[in-house]
Structure formats: structure tokens, C-alpha cells
Symmetry: C2
Amino acid sequence: LSASVFIAGDWGSSRLRLYLCGGDRVLDRRAGPGAFDTAGAHKAALLSLIEPWLARYGAGPVLLCGMVGSRNGWVEAPYAPSPAGAEDLRQRLVRVEGGPVEVMIMPGVAGPGPRGTPEVMRGEETQIIGALALAPALARGRWRLGLPGTHTKWALVEDGRIVSFQTALTGELFGLLRDHGALAKVDGERAARDGDGFVAGLERRPARLGAGLLHELFEVRSRQLLDGWDCAYALDFLSGLLIGADVEGALALFGGSAREIILIGEPALTGRYGQALAHFGASSRSLGGEECALAGLRSIALGMKDASRVAD
Amino acid sequence: LSASVFIAGDWGSSRLRLYLCGGDRVLDRRAGPGAFDTAGAHKAALLSLIEPWLARYGAGPVLLCGMVGSRNGWVEAPYAPSPAGAEDLRQRLVRVEGGPVEVMIMPGVAGPGPRGTPEVMRGEETQIIGALALAPALARGRWRLGLPGTHTKWALVEDGRIVSFQTALTGELFGLLRDHGALAKVDGERAARDGDGFVAGLERRPARLGAGLLHELFEVRSRQLLDGWDCAYALDFLSGLLIGADVEGALALFGGSAREIILIGEPALTGRYGQALAHFGASSRSLGGEECALAGLRSIALGMKDASRVAD
């Protein structure tokens, strides 16, 4: 049994998702603190969560992806250079020393983006490998993928390898402006507004306007002051403005392509990105971010076993 | 004496600057808390600061500008519609009721920006009036002014009136990304870097790249991770990226003009904007923001006295 049972973990900066995997099935799952909330205590945090699994199933290997492998995580797993596919990543897995259970950490990916600036990802590479496993058609030919989030990634995948990618600060900017900025602070003039603030934001198309975004953002506030927008509508407008700018820019990143764009992420977010892509004339399909991470870890883990069997 | 002695106050959200003015001279000055730090206690805060002046010079009028006149300030002074010059603003001064000293608050200005979106300013109108007083040549013809800050304003002034203006969120975004974001958090790989990060940021010219800014900001972080940029250099680069995008967009705002751009603000900031303007081929001249605010308040106050003399 233990040969086919292993533990997969998506350990991001603020959240750990652990899966006890048996073949194609998830036998159990647990959640834990983020890799940046566990400074110096990653092993203890992990062991306390998986102890029941170890006791019942034996010390199966643990495969982790995400910020746990960053410089400020548990053990640094250096970036694989792009282009990188599943086998490239598997060869750069980093083993955590010191037992009692075998722990391997996924590398991130680094390489020049479509504009030549350096780019890094960590965690998204596993989701992309998972998407290729869940939708095998993606493993052949040229595909554009979008992974919306705090740092949205737009990736070009060719024949199963991540060739190039670009980060957009969309989610971080939205969060900063919502939580700390002066933009959405004038609530209550009107209880609610008709219409869809997100679509109104999309329609601004700041990407068409040169410096655009810097000069468009203040409308969120001036409309509250002058037109009585409530905060919910204003934040939807801000979301449309930012996602619209991101998507419109992304469509130009890797050159034209008739194919749909594959979105990977939380459904609420991929839904908004899909709506924005449709607004700009591009079709898309969405895959769940959690499902892709798990599928990517499973795909890498199963390959490890295959490899070790061959080595045996 | 008291007829020519008055009190001018620049009362922004986070800072109060008070001046005891006698004709063209500043007889004394004091500093106090911001208009948003004084909720419900504006009168007490003001009186405690000016009491010695009232005792010595009598209850001269007090003229205030800035966020003290906003909805969340002391008494709301509604926006004057653009175009607005000194006389338009003077006619919309709002008198604070309840004594013991006469207090008048400057209105802000509102109107459609160059792209048709609604715009508001509060405080900058007084600095602009002051700039026209300090440099009378600006009071005739068509001039472009830049007032860099948390919310940078770009204004078109024609024959002494503010015709149109545009807000850029440059300073707020820089502060949010520096203080709360993930961009500049990887210090220490290299102690320092050769070269000027600000100029490197200017040279990115995100405005030329469509969505640009959203897709350019992450370079601040990836270069720290991959190239060992220290935080100081990374923040200078971020500053150049943001100010460059702001300035490049601003140069297109009001149509071409051979004339220099007038910058009003803190010297460290107008210096950076002047450098960015020069980088994009535009000349500029800088005036101190504090001096302009004081000159604007004086100009409005002296006009009040002239008007009342005429009325007598």
C-alpha cells in the first residue's frame, strides 16, 4: 500500500493544503498555516499535521510546492530555467534533510518574460503541470494560460513546457488600494447603484490610454465624491479597471492566437477574468486552482515513483 | 494695524501650517495637527495655536485651505466648478459660524478632466493661485502645471483660471507598494548597486507598452530575487517607473505645447518630476509648494479686503 500512498502539499505564503493521496484518490486532507507564518518551524508544523497519516500508512514521501521553497520558506528550491516541463521540474526537486519522513520541494521557474525582463514563479508551475494532466490536449501545441491572483501570471506553454511568462501585479494593487488607500473611503451617499461596476471599469480600457492606469484610478474616488457611488460599486469599478488593463495587456503579450485562453485559479477570480477576456473578444476556459495544484503534485510524484522504479 | 494683519492656514489631511501675515511679510508661523487628525475639535485646535496672535494683533480674519474644507474636515466648502480663478474661489469662500474669530475656508475645484472623467482638487487650487501671484507671467496665456504628491494633479491654466485638470495616483501607489506591498522586501543580497535606479525606472517607459504598468511593476521584485538589487535601488527604480509613467501620460493630456511645465511641490519631488520631464524632452520650472500655498492664501485674503473696502 505505502508504495502508492503519498502526501501532496500546496504550501503557499499564507496557507497550507495537504492531501493524502492513494493512486488517483484523495484519501484525506488537512489545512495548516502559511509558509511565511511558520518561520523556523516548518518541520514541526508539517509533522503535527501528517502524524496520523504516517502512523496509519507509513512514511510515504511528502511533495510540497509553493513559497515553502522560497528563500524565506523552509528550504530554498532554486528556480528551474524556462522552458521547463514536468521532467525538468522533477529533476530539480530539493530534498529536505533530517527525516523522519522524506520531504521533497518543487522548484519554481525563472526566465526572461515576453518583454525580456526577468520573471519568476513559484507554485504556479505546479498548477500548470496539473492543468496539462487534467486536460491532456494542453500538453501538445501552443497555449496561453492565465493564473489570476495576487501576482497574476500569464504563461505561454508549448508542447508541455512553460516557455515564457509575465507577472501582473493586479491582485496586489487591488488589495492595497482597497485596504490601505484613499480610493474607496466615501461610502454611503447612495445606498446602491444600478448597473455593474465591474463592466463599467472594463469599459474604461486604460491600456488604450498611454499612462492610463495611473490617470484612471482616481475616478474611483471622484465619482464617490461627485456622483455618490457607494463603496461596493466603486470597488467593482476598480476591479474592472485593473483586470481590464491586465487582460488587455496580456492579450498582446505572446502574439496573436486563435485559441482560447486557459484560466487557472479560484472560480470567483477566473470568472471575472473570463468575463474580461470575453469583453475584449477572447474566449477562455477555467480550471480550479486547487485542483490543478493537486493534479500537478500528483503528476510529479507519480513520475518520481516511476523514475525510482526504473532506477531500481 | 489689524486691518492688514491676517492669519493664513494650509490645513491638509495630515498637517496644519499657520502663518501670521502682515502685508507682504510673515510675522510668525506655527504648525499643528492635520485636519483628519482633529475630528470634531478643529476650532479648539486652531484657537489654541493662534491665541497669542489674537491677543497681540486682535481678531484678524483666518483664511484656511486644504482638506479642512472637505466633507470629513471642519466645515465643507463645496467645490467651485472649473474654469475657476481667484475671484471665482473668493466668491465661494465658506464662513465658519460661531466665532470668536472670523474663519473662512477655501473651496476646492471640480470639473471634467481632459478625458471627460470627473475630477476634484482641494488645496492645489490655492497653490495654483499662489503660483500666479509669485510669477505673474503665468496669469496670462495657457500654461501646464504639475503638482506632484500623493495624488499628483496636472492642470491646464488659461488666463489665470484653472480650466481642466487630471489626477494621477502616483504618490499613493508608490507609498502603498513601498510600505505594504511585496515588491521591496528582499534586501541585502548586494550592499549597493552602481547606477541610478530612478533613471533605470524612467527608461522602462511603461506608458509605451499598453497595460504597461501592471506588467512592469513585478520587475522590481524579480530583479531583487535574481539580480540582487538592494531595496534602496529597487525603490528608486519603482519611483522612476511610476513617475515616468505619470509624466509620459501627462505630456499627452492637454495637447502639445512648446512652453515649459510649471512644477509646484516639495523640492525633492519636483526635482524628480523635473528630471522625468527632461527625460521625455520637456522643460520645467519649479516653485515651492509651501510658498505657493501661502502666496495663494495671501492673494485671496488681500482680495477679500479690497472687495470689502470697495463695498464700504
